[in-house]
């Protein structure tokens, strides 16, 4: 460090102590210069960072049942406390510090109360210990609640060193090298003398939020949406002027922030903010500002995704048996503790488990204090695994809460090249426990792949069989994908599914469209047969046992069937000759033929293009534009979801008081190019009378379709 700036900093410090004395947290205190901040950083660097024992505090989901302190290395319980916690506890200097019944209390790992002081009705935001002192901040309620207390006390007996009560929102403190580092009001980071409370330096952000301070090794970091390392460059007060790390933008499940809001206290026992978040640890040994292993970990209940810190690319995924209750990055990997008490250390390279132990006590919230050097001896036989394997695991499962994470995994899978990935997507798609929205996501991901068609063909080889326990394959999605891949071997299989009554009616149009795209001449006769069989298939049938005619097909299914027949009419007209033209004439003469089929036959006879999408496909447009079904060339699922979600609360009111609440409502409707919704049907039907008028009033975005079918799956979980 240069001598001149150091002297300048010292003179500034003396001036502030003697001449222009301002109270700590004064809004008029100017931001410190680079030298002052460098001096602070030097003091931290010079101070010896105390290595702490790896401890875990397992808080029961019912915080009234207290908590247990555990040795992470062995899983053994060191002590238990039966106090009713009023907020998330913290570990500082080997003590557990929590808030109970009007007091902040410090317990030893064995569970003995060491000291306490009054909380004055404020929530516990954080605690940090170093050099025999502990800093505790009370406040909470977010950055707009401008009231807080900073306590600095002797770690051993809790004797007060100083207390500062301020009209500012305080964040969690860090104490290191004789200084207390405290973010406040979302914009400032004050450095206070740990003995006197005098403010010795001030960092003010001019273009970002300051939400946390964190000590790692010989460095102090700060930030909120990004991570900066305290030093001379911090004086710039802008991200541009300060070396920093900012995670790349990524659509992560649950959209977690880079760091938890440091101004809002966390609840005890189970706080959802800890279940959906990003976890990372600064690497003080790396040049500049970096995170350990170059990875940021996204947690979503049971799923953990390891993301490249620089690119945001997914490296691997891991699915915990239980909800992840505690997570910490260490030099040997990622330590995860689930709510069943299973602790697992995951290798940073691929996420396979290298160490496991069972905690003797479990909790919905596990607070960890684990030094970066934590590296237990390997005790598993788990081998390395590929990213594909880990993503396949993350994309599966039947836990409905994990659908956003599963969708993310599918999205990441889709981005991976190779036939093996296609096989993985097919295997996911053929799981019949798959949530409908996830099925759509997988199907869409599959639809654009050209590698690995063998897996798709293999899936299509199966036909539903009740006795043999085989369910119908998702032939619609497979048809789209195989057409995109121009896999002509699929034609015969698709024809067989076209005539299989177990094939979902919604899959028929994609199959017909795929046969059109494959242009296999042998499918012409099959498509003509399909038109013959179903063009007049309207109305009821008397049961075999006798009685009145029964209309056994729902209106929605009839519409879907008509769509498929209409498409087949167009394909037959395009590929066929005179016999097929005679068939179309007969279709037109039949008075019972539905309007969609009739319109298609009219277009075909007049020589008009089959439909705009087919014309686009002929002109070389992307195969994804193929008119498989109405919604796929009209509005996207997201557009429909966005428009419908605005009325979701009203729709859910229809379920109030219902004797049985379904997991979801399936709403099918027609819409036109101006976004008007008509002919709404709802499953379960019992809710249709109430839901249909609400959905019918929704204004969808305008699109280029004349008329199309749309589907909205309304999840009913609150």
């Amino acid at each position: 460090m240069k001598r001149a700036p150091r002297l300048a900093a010292l003179s500034l410090l003396l001036a502030s102590c003697g001449g222009v004395q301002r109270p700590s947290f004064s809004l008029s205190t100017p931001a410190s210069g680079g030298d002052a901040l460098a001096a602070v950083a030097d003091r931290v660097r010079a101070a010896h960072a105390e290595d702490s024992a790896p401890l875990a505090v397992a808080v029961d989901e019912d915080p009234a049942r207290g908590f247990a302190v555990l040795d992470v290395r062995t899983g053994a319980v060191l002590g238990r406390v039966s106090a009713v916690l009023a907020g998330r506890p913290y570990i500082a200097g080997g003590l557990v510090i929590g808030r109970v019944a009007g007091s902040v209390v410090a317990w030893t790992p064995e569970g003995a109360e060491r000291w306490r002081f009054a909380d004055h009705g404020l929530e516990l935001l954080g605690a940090s210990a170093d050099g025999g002192l502990v800093a505790v901040v009370l406040g909470g309620g977010g950055v707009t609640r401008r009231r807080g207390e900073l306590h600095v006390r002797n770690l051993d007996d809790g004797a007060s060193v100083f207390v500062q009560t301020v009209s500012h929102a305080l964040g969690a403190p860090v104490i290191a090298g004789g200084s207390v580092f405290l973010p406040w009001d979302g914009q400032n980071l004050s450095v206070l003398d740990a003995r006197s409370g005098a403010e010795t330096a001030r960092l003010r952000s001019r273009d970002d939020v300051l939400g946390f301070a964190r000590r790692e090794g010989d460095a102090v970091y700060y930030g909120a949406r990004s991570l900066s390392r305290l030093g001379a460059a911090s004086a710039a007060g802008t991200l541009d002027g300060t070396p920093h790390y900012r995670p790349p933008a990524a659509e992560l499940p649950g959209s977690p922030a880079f760091a938890l809001d440091g101004y809002t206290a966390l609840r005890a026992g189970l706080d959802a903010r800890e279940r959906v978040r990003l976890v990372w640890r600064p690497d003080p040994h790396a040049a500049g500002v970096a995170v350990l292993h170059g990875l940021v970990f996204a947690v979503f209940h049971r799923d953990v995704f390891a993301l490249d810190a620089a690119s945001g690319a997914l490296r691997w995924a891991w699915v915990s048996a239980g909800d992840v209750a505690g997570l910490e990055v260490v030099s040997s990997g990622l330590l995860a503790v689930d709510d069943h008490g299973a602790a697992t250390l995951l290798a940073p390279a691929d996420g396979h488990a290298v160490w496991r132990t069972r905690m003797a006590s479990q909790g919905g919230q596990v607070v960890l204090q684990v030094p970066s050097s934590f590296a237990p001896a390997r005790n598993t036989d788990d081998g390395p695994r590929t990213a594909l394997e880990s993503l396949l695991e993350a994309a599966g499962g039947s836990d409905a809460r994990l659908v956003p994470a599963q969708r993310f995994a599918v999205h990441e899978l889709a981005a991976m090249p190779g036939a093996a990935t296609t096989g993985a997507l097919v295997s996911i798609l053929t799981r019949h426990t798959l949530a409908p929205e996830l099925r759509a996501a997988v199907g869409e991901a599959l639809a654009t792949r050209t590698e690995g068609t063998d897996a798709m063909l293999e899936a299509l080889e199966h036909h539903a069989d009740y006795v043999r326990g085989i369910e119908a394959p998702p032939s619609g999605y497979l048809a789209r994908a195989l057409a995109h891949a121009h896999e002509r071997r699929a034609a015969a299989m698709l024809v067989s599914h076209l005539f299989d009554p177990a094939t979902a009616v919604a899959d028929l149009a994609p199959i017909v469209a795929a046969l059109r795209e494959l242009e296999d001449p042998t499918s012409l006769s099959a498509l003509a047969d399909f038109v013959r069989l179903y063009h007049a298939d309207v109305g009821g049938v008397p049961p075999a046992e006798g009685g009145d005619a029964v209309i056994e097909r729902e209106q929605t299914d009839q519409a879907l069937l008509d769509t498929a027949v209409a498409q087949a009419v167009e394909v037959v007209a395009r590929m066929g000759g005179a016999p097929e033209q005679a068939l179309l004439d007969r279709v037109l003469r039949n008075p019972v033929v539905g309007p969609d089929v009739r319109a298609a036959a009219n277009r075909a006879r007049e020589g008009a293009p089959p439909d705009p999408q087919a014309a686009a496909a002929d002109a070389g447009a992307a195969p994804t534009d193929m008119s498989f079904e109405a919604t796929q060339h009209g509005l996207s699922g997201e557009q429909i979801e966005t428009a419908m979600s605005a009325r979701r609360a009203e729709v859910l009111e229809c379920l109030r008081g219902a004797p049985s609440r379904p997991a979801q409502l399936r709403v099918v409707f027609r819409y036109d190019g101006e976004g008007a919704v008509t002919r709404v049907s709802v499953l379960p039907e019992v809710f249709e009378a109430c839901v249909a008028p609400i959905v019918g009033a929704v204004q969808l975005p305008a699109s280029d379709v004349s008329r199309a079918l749309g589907t909205w799956i309304c999840a009913t979980a609150q």
Binding site: L533, G540, A582
Partner: protein
């Protein structure tokens, strides 16, 4: 008292819906059905040198006019059987309204001509379950190996009524492979619960096994006592005991097994056996009578 054989379709099924669709067709069907009642099932038809129907409407048939088509089906069903089967099959393959298709399939069942095979096979895969059921009935009238294999496949149909209809149909015509398919269906549903009766597929496949199985099949069915719903097994045993081709020994084993159960349902079935065969005492009827007296 429940009659365990009561749900089975009588051999002379008269296709009542066809009567509802058009009076002309109804009359034709009744004529045919009357003839069928007096006769046992036809032997399997040969498909050699068969003329296949065209998927185009027969000349002068206006398939867009359902009333006219129904009338033409009725006439075709009462005229030359071969030509009638070809005309009706062509009409069905060319595409008609579902109520017309139902009548046409009923008529093809009555005609039982090999020329109907293409149309029947097509409708065995139709999306309407009601038409698949009718196609099953018509397929059973043909009794060709190809039809039997097609009927077997419908045991795995997605619709429960069609599955049951397939099993019910096989009770009349099942051969060895079909019996094996029936066993697969029976064993699939034997463990699915649904009370003392079991699923409709279980009941109908049990009945078909009782009606068409071998002596070994009867002994195998006995191993399901206490493991499968009794209602379904009762239908199997009732069908087996009614068979003139089955020796007395397996019948006696069935009665003895039922007597060993000593449950009210078993007693009810034994009572039925004893009552219905009072005039024809055989060892198994005597055993049933003795068991009824013993079971309280």
């Amino acid at each position: 008292m429940t009659t365990f054989a009561g749900r089975a379709r009588a051999p002379g099924f008269v296709y009542p819906s066809a009567m509802r669709i058009a009076g002309v067709l109804a009359a034709a069907a009744m004529v045919q059905a009357g003839a069928l009642r007096a006769q046992p099932l036809r032997p399997g038809v040969s498909t050699t040198a068969m003329v296949h129907p065209s998927p185009e409407p027969p000349p002068e048939w206006d398939l867009g006019n359902s009333a006219d088509t129904l009338a033409r089906i009725a006439r075709a069903a009462t005229g030359d059987p071969r030509r009638g089967a070809l005309e009706i099959s062509s009409a069905l393959l060319a595409g008609v309204e579902p109520q017309v298709a139902a009548a046409g399939l009923d008529a093809l069942g009555v005609l039982a001509r090999p020329e109907s095979a293409d149309a029947i096979l097509r409708f065995l895969d139709h999306r309407r379950a009601s038409l698949r059921r009718r196609a099953l009935i018509a397929a059973a009238r043909l009794r060709t190996p190809a039809m039997l294999r097609a009927i077997e496949q419908r045991l795995g149909d997605p619709d429960a009524d069609v599955r049951a209809e397939a099993a019910r149909t096989l009770a009349d015509v099942a051969d060895g492979p079909a019996v094996r398919a029936l066993w697969a269906a029976f064993e699939h549903d034997a463990g699915t619960g649904l009370g003392s009766e079991g699923s409709s597929l279980l009941q109908e496949s049990a009945h078909a096994l009782g009606a068409r199985g071998t002596v070994e099949d009867m002994d195998h069915l006995l191993t399901f006592l206490r493991r499968a719903p009794f209602g379904a097994l009762a239908r199997a045993f009732d069908a087996a005991l009614r068979r003139p081709d089955l020796p007395d020994a397996p019948k006696l084993r069935i009665v003895q097994a039922l007597a060993g159960l000593a449950t009210p349902q078993a007693r009810e079935l034994l009572q039925q056996i004893a009552d219905e065969r009072r005039a024809r005492p055989t060892p198994y009827v005597e055993a049933a009578r003795a068991a009824v007296a013993r079971i309280q």
